[in-house]
C-alpha cells in the first residue's frame, strides 16, 4: 500500500500556477527526493500533501485513503521556515509539540530526552530556544517532527544551514528510519545528498513534473559519456573531435563526449601525445548535471541561467 499518492494535483495562486497536474507515489521504506529550482512548487506540493492547503483539482491520498486530518498523526513535518517559541524551554517545547501529535505527557517527555541524546544536544534540554545556536534549533525541530514515530516523514530542506558534521548526523538518522520501514520525503538543492541517500526522485520545474523514477533508472537512462581525467603534460587531447565540452582545471578535467564510445579514442590520443594520465574514469552524468540540463530544457536556456542554483 503506497503511503502517499498524489494524482494530477493542481494549485493556482491568483494568477501564478504553483503546481500543475503533478502525480507521484511514495512506497513505505523509501527515501524520496523532491527536487526542483527555487519557486518550482516544492513547498506548495508538500503543503497540499499534508492538508495545509487544498488542491484546486486532483486528489491526495495518504495511507491508502482519501486525505483525512486524522492521518496527520502518522505524519512528521519539518517546514522549510524553521520556527520555535523563543522564550520556551526546549523540553517544554518538545513535550508540547509531542502532545499536539497525540502523545501523553510522559511518553512525550521520555522520547524527547532519548532523542536529545541521540542527536547530541542533551545540554540544551533546560535552555530557552533563544539561547541556542541555529543548528541546535534545527535539531530540536527535527526531533519535534519525529517524536510521535510517524510512518511518513516530510522534510522541507532538512539540511540547509547545518555544518557537515551535523548534516551527516541527521542524514544517518533519516537512513536509519528508512531502514525501519518509514517513508521519508525531503526536498533539497544539494544533489550530492540526493545521490547518496535517495531511492526515488522527482524533479519538478515550474510546477510540472520533469523527471521521476528510481535513482538507478534515472541515471541509467543517461549515457555514460562523462570522463574525469587527472593528467600532467600535453593537454591537446582535450580538443579531440569526440569531446563535446571540456572543463580543464589545470590537470583535472571534466569532459562531456558526444558518445560513450568516444572515451577510448580520447585516451588513445592522450597516450599517443605522451600525456601522463594519473586517472581516467568514464561515468554517467551526475545528478547535478542532469538537474541543470532538465531544468534548462524546461525554461529555455537563457532564462534558466539565473534560476538554477543547484
Amino acid at each position: 500500500m503506497p503511503i502517499v499518492e498524489l494524482e494530477k494535483i493542481r494549485k493556482v495562486y491568483d494568477t501564478k500556477v504553483a503546481v500543475e497536474g503533478l502525480s507521484l507515489t511514495i512506497e513505505p521504506g523509501t527515501m524520496f527526493g523532491l527536487l526542483g529550482p527555487n519557486g518550482s512548487g516544492k513547498t506548495s506540493t508538500i503543503r497540499m500533501m499534508i492538508g495545509m492547503t487544498v488542491p484546486d483539482s486532483g486528489t491526495v491520498r495518504l495511507f491508502g485513503k482519501p486525505f483525512d486530518r486524522k492521518a496527520l498523526h502518522r505524519v512528521g513535518y519539518l517546514p522549510e521556515e524553521r520556527g520555535l517559541y523563543k522564550k520556551m524551554k526546549v523540553i517544554d517545547q518538545l513535550v508540547f509539540l509531542g502532545q499536539l501529535h497525540g502523545l501523553s505527557e510522559t511518553t512525550a517527555r521520555s522520547r524527547s530526552l532519548a532523542w536529545c541524546e541521540r542527536v547530541e544536544i542533551t545540554e540544551a534540554i533546560e535552555k530557552k530556544t533563544e539561547e541556542l545556536s541555529k543548528g541546535m534549533q534545527q535539531k530540536i525541530q527535527f526531533i519535534a517532527a519525529l517524536l510521535h514515530e510517524p510512518e511518513l516523514i516530510v522534510m522541507d530542506e532538512p539540511f540547509s544551514g547545518l555544518d557537515p558534521v551535523n548534516a551527516e548526523l541527521l542524514q544517518d538518522t533519516l537512513i536509519d528510519l528508512r531502514k525501519e520501514g518509514k517513508a521519508v520525503l525531503f526536498s533539497t538543492h544539494r544533489m550530492d545528498q540526493v545521490e547518496k541517500m535517495c531511492d526515488e526522485i522527482v524533479l519538478i520545474s515550474r510546477g510540472k513534473l520533469v523527471l521521476s523514477g528510481s535513482m538507478r533508472e534515472v541515471k541509467s537512462s543517461y549515457e555514460r559519456n562523462r570522463v574525469h581525467v587527472v593528467f600532467s603534460g600535453d593537454e591537446t587531447f582535450l580538443r579531440n573531435a569526440e569531446v563535446e565540452e571540456a572543463k580543464n582545471y589545470s590537470g583535472v578535467a571534466e569532459l562531456k563526449l558526444h558518445s560513450e564510445a568516444g572515451a577510448q579514442k580520447v585516451l588513445a590520443e592522450a597516450m599517443a601525445r605522451g600525456t601522463v594520465i594519473h586517472r581516467f574514469e568514464v561515468k554517467e552524468p551526475t545528478l547535478e548535471e542532469i538537474f541543470i540540463e532538465r531544468v534548462r530544457a524546461s525554461f529555455g536556456d537563457e532564462e534558466a541561467r539565473g534560476i538554477v542554483d543547484a
Binding site: M52, H73, P79, G83, F96, H101
Partner: protein, 406 residues
Amino acid sequence: MHNVWLIAKREYMERIKTKGFLIATILIPLLMGGGLFGVATMASKAKATSHIAVVVGSQPQLAEDIKKELENGKDSKMTVDVVPASTAHAVLDQRIANNQLDAYLVIVPATTVGERPTFDFTPRSTADIATSTTIEDALHRVLMREYLAGKGVSEPEAAALIEPVTLNVMEKNGKHGDSKASFYVAYILFLLMYMVVLLYGMNVARSIIEEKTSRVFEVLLATITPDELLAGKIIGVGGVGLTQVGIWLIAAGLLAAQMGMASGVSLSMAQAVFFAVYFALGYALYSSVAAALGAMTNSEQELQQLNMFMMIPLFFSLLMLQPIVTNPNSMLSRIVSQIPFCAPLLMNLRVSISMPQPWEIALSIGLIVVTIYAVLWVSSRIYRVGILMYGKKPNLPEILRWLKYS
C-alpha cells in the same frame, strides 16, 4: 477539543510565568490606586494658598473682612495684604511680575446706595480658575454676612444660614447608601473592563503575529486546524486576563474589608455575576476581532495602524459613559447599550447603576453572542488563509476573496 486545551494551556502558562505579568499585576493597581488616592487627597486637602493684595476702596471694613475670610476661610489659606487705594496699579503689576504677588483685587464701590460693590481681579494667570473661584465664593460669603449683619441677624445665625445643606441619598430599601461609592464602583468596573479588553485583546493579536514571525504556526497547522489554534489562543490569553482581574478584585475586596470601607459600597451578587458575564463576552468579542487583525498583519507596526478598529467602539463607549451615568434609562442609553461592540461595557454599566429591564439584558447578551459567532466565522477564515500568506499586506478585495475560500 484536546488540542484547544493544549494550546490554551501553553498560552496561559507561558504568560503567567513572565516577569511582565507579575509586574503588571502588582504595579497597575498600585499606580492607579495611588494616583486616585493622591488626586482625591489633594482635592480634599488643597486650600488656595495664593498671595493676594486687596486694594482698599472707600470701605476699609469690607477689605478687612475679605482678608479674614481669605486667610482663614473654609477652603482658603491665602496670604492677604491690604494696601491703600493710593497704590498705583503699575506697582502691583510689577510685584506680580517679580513673583512677590499672585494677584490683586480692587474694590470698586457701588455707584448707588444699597447696591453691591464690584471687584476687579487681576491674577498672574487668567487660567488660574481655582483661585478666582475661591475668591468669588469668599466675596459672596462676606457680602452676605455683611448684609445679614445689617439686617440685625446675629453672627452664629448668619453662619448657620450660609452653611450648605446635607443631602442623604437613600436606596430603595431604605438603607442609607453612599451614592458616590456606588458610582465609583461602576466607574472602576467600567475602566477595568475597558483596559483588560483592550490590553488582552491586543495580546491575542500579538501572539498570532509572534507565531507568524517565528513561523511556529506552520508546525502547529500540520497537526491542528486554524479554528482550534484560534480558540485555544483566545481562551488561553483570556484566562490570563481573568486571572489578573481576579487577583485585583480579590485584593481590592480584602483591602476594602480591612479598612472598613465596604459598608457603603454596594456591589451586589447580581452585579458581580453580570460583570463576569459581560467581561467574558466582551473579551471574546474583542479578541476575535484582534485575532482577525493579527492574521491580516505581519508586524506590530502594521497592527498599530489597524487597531483603531478596536479603539473606536471602546472610545465611543467611553464618551457614552457620562450620558448613561446621568440618565441610565433614557432612549439614548437604551439604544447604545444594545450595540454589540459597546454592550459589554455599557450594559454592564447600566446594570451596576440601575438595573435595566430583563429583556434588555437578554437582548444585549443575545446580540453579543451572535456577533461573536459572526466575527469568529470571519476571523477563522481570514486566519486560515492569511496565516499562510505571509510576506505581503493584503488589500480589501483580497480579504473578501479569503472569506469565500474555505
